[in-house]
């Protein structure tokens, strides 16, 4: 009896550890294969990978992904302020009036809003922005990205603001600060690192989003454009199209672009970790 309990304990531990290793094995394999395949392509193409146009399907040359890099930068730059502003205001509302019915409603719909498929958002923005403007545009893509980022940004920010101990707010009121004054000069400064992390996580989400751009951004790959009202491309969109294509050279470009995207994501992720490390209130 006693030894069976002991044996069962050992078996259980082994099974749990083995399944856990299996659970995180994919991510390690992903990072390995993406970097091995991708950096070979980037090394072959050299710096022109960042400055050239994508190759034609049958060309021997790998070319570059300059239009996609420009588009991703542009759309991230447009969508980030939108998502951050709206998310911050909503987070201030729910942190300052936690029991107000409206706050409860905002808080309760954050998760359902995040569960709307990103491709649905793409279709909605297509109807509301692309059709009235009569053209795909970086602006439409950025609106779709902002909508997708909003519930996440809100959640990061509201967690950040709620983690500020209430003594800070009480101290602010004790020296006769107004409520806005308390928010702007006490609450936000105290939570600034957690808020910065939230902004970075939003950047990570926005730059890697694919499905939201399918019917909004257009696929402008014949030049580098920074105009918000003109069609644009994005790195994930290029990867998506090229990995589904039958052409070998497009597959190579897709691997290179994936490595670049993953590298950018890892850097943003690392930055959030470095910031969090310093947070000690």
């Amino acid at each position: 009896m006693y030894s069976w309990r002991k044996l069962r304990e050992k078996l259980f531990t082994c099974l749990i550890i083995a399944l856990s290793v299996l659970a995180i094995a994919p991510v390690l394999h992903i990072i390995l294969t993406v970097f091995v395949n991708g950096f070979a392509v980037i090394a072959k193409a050299g710096t022109s990978f960042f400055t050239d146009l994508p190759p034609t399907p049958l060309s021997k040359d790998v070319g570059g992904i300059a239009p996609s890099i420009a588009g991703t930068l542009l759309m991230t730059a447009i969508s980030l302020p939108i998502a951050v502003t709206l998310g911050l205001f909503a987070a201030i509302l729910t942190a300052e009036f936690p029991s107000n019915p409206l706050s409860l409603a905002v808080d309760a719909i954050a998760k359902p809003l995040a569960s709307i498929p990103t491709i649905a958002v793409s279709m909605i923005v297509y109807t509301l922005v692309v059709v009235p403007m009569k053209s795909f545009s970086a602006l439409a893509g950025a609106v779709a990205l902002a909508v997708i980022a909003l519930p996440y940004t809100y959640t990061y920010f509201s967690t950040a603001l709620r983690s500020v101990p209430s003594v800070y707010r009480e101290a602010a009121f004790a020296i006769a600060m107004s409520r806005w004054g308390a928010v702007v000069r006490v609450l936000i400064p105290v939570a600034r690192k957690a808020l910065t992390t939230g902004v970075l996580m939003t950047v990570a989400r926005v730059m890697g989003e694919t499905a939201a751009l399918l019917f909004t951004a257009g696929r402008f790959r014949t030049g580098v454009s920074f105009s918000p009202t003109a069609p644009a491309d994005a790195i994930p969109l290029l990867i998506f199209d090229y990995i589904l294509s039958p052409y070998a050279v497009w597959h190579q470009v897709a691997w290179g672009a994936t490595a670049l995207l993953l590298l950018a994501y890892l850097m943003v992720f690392l930055a959030t970790k470095l910031i969090v490390k310093e947070v000690r209130l």
Partner: protein
């Protein structure tokens, strides 16, 4: 209820902060309005057959709807098998630096762009699954309808399910871990107090967390349902409805990703696609609402 100053503050926050509510309302209304045409013209017959023939304006969404539900179910099973052990390992077996490294890896997986998963899944996971899961299962158990067809390319409902499952593992793990770690320490002390081994105490704690774990899985299912990029690259994109998991299929989001761009050329194609996503959106919102309220209620009950 408010003092005058509070009221001004509240009102100044209002316009921008109700954006979340506005976005939800506008989104659902837009999709519902755009799908009205199809629902009026075809009625529920739209969901009774599987056909995509815009030239003749004949549509049936049965295969993609079933495909979405099947892939999500497989994804959920995959996530279930991997997430609970991973959460337990992090909570019970790891300590110090290793614990924070593994938690960071889970976090890293959670935020990783899905297109990266999609590229990897289509180039490595699908051939791997074909060789080591689908072919053995088919040759060992061909009499079970789910495994009855020979995997040809490997791109199939099964492959898409596993790939999506891998991508939702971090999400489900985080939710389970949060619930598991929020169980008050006195329950664990009580377990050890009556002489339970670690396995026995984990079993008791898991049963205590069961409602939250089920809610986490419901949320995972809602997320798997809407996954697009991974689905398109692995599901095989075929309108043929099969009882076999190894045959290529479709999911709603994969159908939209491949057909929406040309849908404006036909009278009903666009609105049919809107009604297909309407179904998914409504299911996803309902499930995630249920899941998140269940977790909150569970926390109020167990974590006093």
């Amino acid at each position: 209820m408010f003092s005058k100053r509070d009221k001004l503050f509240f009102l100044s926050l209002l316009p921008l902060s109700i954006s979340l509510l506005a976005v939800l309302v506008v989104s659902v209304t837009t999709i519902a309005l755009r799908s009205l045409d199809a629902l009026q013209h075809f009625g529920l017959a739209l969901f009774a057959s599987s056909i995509w023939n815009p030239e003749r304006e004949v549509y049936g969404l049965l295969a993609p709807v079933i495909g979405s539900l099947t892939t999500s179910a497989i994804a959920l099973l995959t996530a279930l098998i991997l997430s609970i052990p991973l959460a337990i390992t992090i909570a019970e077996y790891l300590q110090g630096a290793l614990k924070s490294v593994v938690s960071s890896i889970v976090e890293l997986m959670g935020g990783m762009p899905t297109i990266v998963y999609a590229v990897w899944a289509s180039q490595y996971l699908v051939p791997f699954l074909k060789q080591f899961a689908m072919e053995p299962l088919h040759s060992a158990l061909p009499f079970i309808p789910l495994f009855s067809c020979k995997p040809v390319t490997g791109f199939s409902v099964f492959a898409a399910g596993v790939a999506i499952g891998i991508s939702i593992v971090p999400y489900v793990t985080t939710l389970i871990l949060e619930a598991y770690q929020s169980i008050p320490v006195m329950y664990r002390e009580a377990c050890y107090g009556i002489g339970a081994t670690r396995y026995e105490s984990i079993k008791i704690l898991l049963s205590l967390a069961r409602p939250a774990i089920i809610a986490a899985l419901v949320l995972g299912f809602a997320r798997a349902l809407g996954e697009t990029t991974i689905a398109v690259t692995t599901v095989g994109n075929s309108m043929y409805l099969s009882s076999c998991l190894f045959a290529p299929g479709y999911t709603v989001s994969a159908l939209i990703a491949s057909q929406f761009a040309n849908a404006y050329l036909y009278q009903y194609a666009e609105t049919v696609l809107y009604s297909s996503i309407l179904v998914v959106v409504l299911i996803a919102i309902a499930l995630s609402f249920y899941g998140s309220t269940t977790i909150v209620r569970w926390r109020l009950r167990v974590v006093v």
